[in-house]
Symmetry: C2
Subunit: 301 residues, 2 copies
């Protein structure tokens, strides 16, 4: 899993501050999470082959999280895209996008699917043989979901040396990877564990933005490998956090600690703060492995 922060600042794009968008590479999928204005320019600037994006997950319909979506959809069309594009987001997103395509007489030539959400419960929104994506209902001024991306346990890895020793043929390899035992030419059963290694432990990533402090999400993201949790404010602006339904760095860290996350990434900083290290310091009081999101920065998960 690799996460690239395309933008991590709150409210409005500034000279050197993009609004929220992230790119998650997981098991061959290139997934876009939120899409603030200018996301397509950031993708180009970072040299990302963004035609590979097939799934876009939008948390909520505040501009700093989705104003770049219509531009990206249009650019895909101009680039001659043929592959399907799936958009997951709050109810209303389809109307916003299709109204603009209709008035521009610019329907996409590629299949564009909307998966609109309006339930307050956590639901599985996407699943294939490699990953599963569920919503993490958040508490903000409009209907908002975070998303939990979970790898599925992969196939077992064949121990090539052992396989040779026991005379395993190429045609038996898939069975071994799937966990089946092996019967050799003498009819003797060789247990799978003697011929394979455990697969890598599946990893997971939870994106939680924007939200007030909400302990309910802890059970949904329990033991997550990496958590991105918004920290719009520092705790000295708790009044603003409560009023605008955002979180502080300390609150983000508390959620990470309760969820037993391996790592925490902070972001969605209010423009009132000059030095972002204060976010790191504040969070470290409650959780050790904290990182600051920065526009253009990548994290190996």
């Amino acid at each position: 899993m690799e996460l690239t922060i395309l933008g991590c600042h709150a409210a409005t794009p500034r000279k050197k501050a993009q609004t929220t968008s992230q790119l998650l590479e997981v098991k061959g999928h290139l997934i876009l999470i939120d899409c603030g204005e200018g996301t397509q320019m950031q993708l180009r600037k970072l040299g990302i082959k963004f035609a590979r994006i097939r799934y876009i997950f939008i948390s909520h319909l505040h501009g700093d999280h989705f104003y770049g979506l219509i531009g990206l959809i249009s650019t895909f069309r101009l680039l001659g895209r043929e592959a399907e594009l799936h958009i997951y987001g709050p109810k209303g997103i389809k109307e916003i996008i299709t109204l603009q395509l209709k008035l521009a007489k610019s329907w996409t030539d590629y299949p564009l699917y909307f998966h609109e959400l309006d339930t307050p419960d956590s639901v599985v929104v996407f699943e294939d043989d490699k990953i599963k994506v569920s919503t993490v209902p958040l508490d903000h001024r409009v209907y908002t979901n975070g998303y939990l991306f979970e790898e599925k346990t992969g196939l077992r890895k064949v121990n090539i040396e052992a396989a040779k020793t026991f005379g395993v043929e190429v045609c038996d390899m898939e069975n071994l990877k799937a966990g089946k035992n092996f019967v050799d030419s003498t009819g003797k059963l060789i247990p799978n564990k003697s011929l394979t290694f455990d697969p890598e432990l599946p990893k997971s990533y939870a994106f939680c933005s924007d939200t007030a402090y909400k302990e309910d999400i802890v059970t949904l993201i329990k033991n997550v490998t990496f958590l991105y949790h918004e920290s719009t404010f520092l705790k000295n602006h708790m009044d603003l956090a409560i009023k605008t339904k955002h979180s502080t760095a300390a609150q983000a860290a508390k959620i990470a600690a309760m969820a037993n996350a391996k790592g925490l990434i902070l972001g969605h900083y209010s423009s009132r703060y000059g030095d972002l290290n204060s976010f790191l310091e504040e969070a470290k009081e409650f959780f050790e492995n904290v990182h600051l999101a920065e526009d253009g920065k990548s994290f190996k998960i």
Copy 2:
């Protein structure tokens, strides 16, 4: 009059190519013309005090001309704007913007007015004591207007030396500027021309994008000071120009020549061309005073 090109490239924003947006400073007005994605970032990058923008004119509802509008409107709200904002553009623009504000529960706190256009005729859309703005109906794949911005003739300039000689008092100055004659203390009439200079000749600017070659516009923009006319293609791609209802550099220059413009600015270049000087060369065959629009470049008109 000063024109700043915020973006001048066709179709989609690229690494170093913004889509259409221009800023026109005229007689104290700061006017935005079109608003491609990322326009607000360009305004910040160029250090423009964009809160002063009060009028925005949108040519048509293709994304490369207006996808940045919703972001700019939202940012004005976040910056605490109180002044009125007037948007002129094709019918449908109000629905697009208000739908997004409604779903985000983010109505502007400042008065936002839409002036929707759907007539195929040229109409005056704005007028005050300093300027007049009319539409220039264009020929594109969707309903499109260019805009003609005309300064009104200013007040006459008082000849201070002559005024002293004839004993003009301060309280008479406004009458002189308005063109009235002066009666001195002996009852003698002094003609206004002896006491004033002619005002500066009013200037005008026509923005014509996007459009197929359309000679009908010549009468509307006759004797314009500066004309911006799109030149998406060079003449070797005339087939594409016809198909997509765009113009070539040669066609833009022919319009400028027929309109007796003082100067021509080319722009809205297709990304297929590396060297923009070919546009200049092609246009110069038909019109001498040609300039290339470039992102960030300003023109004194």
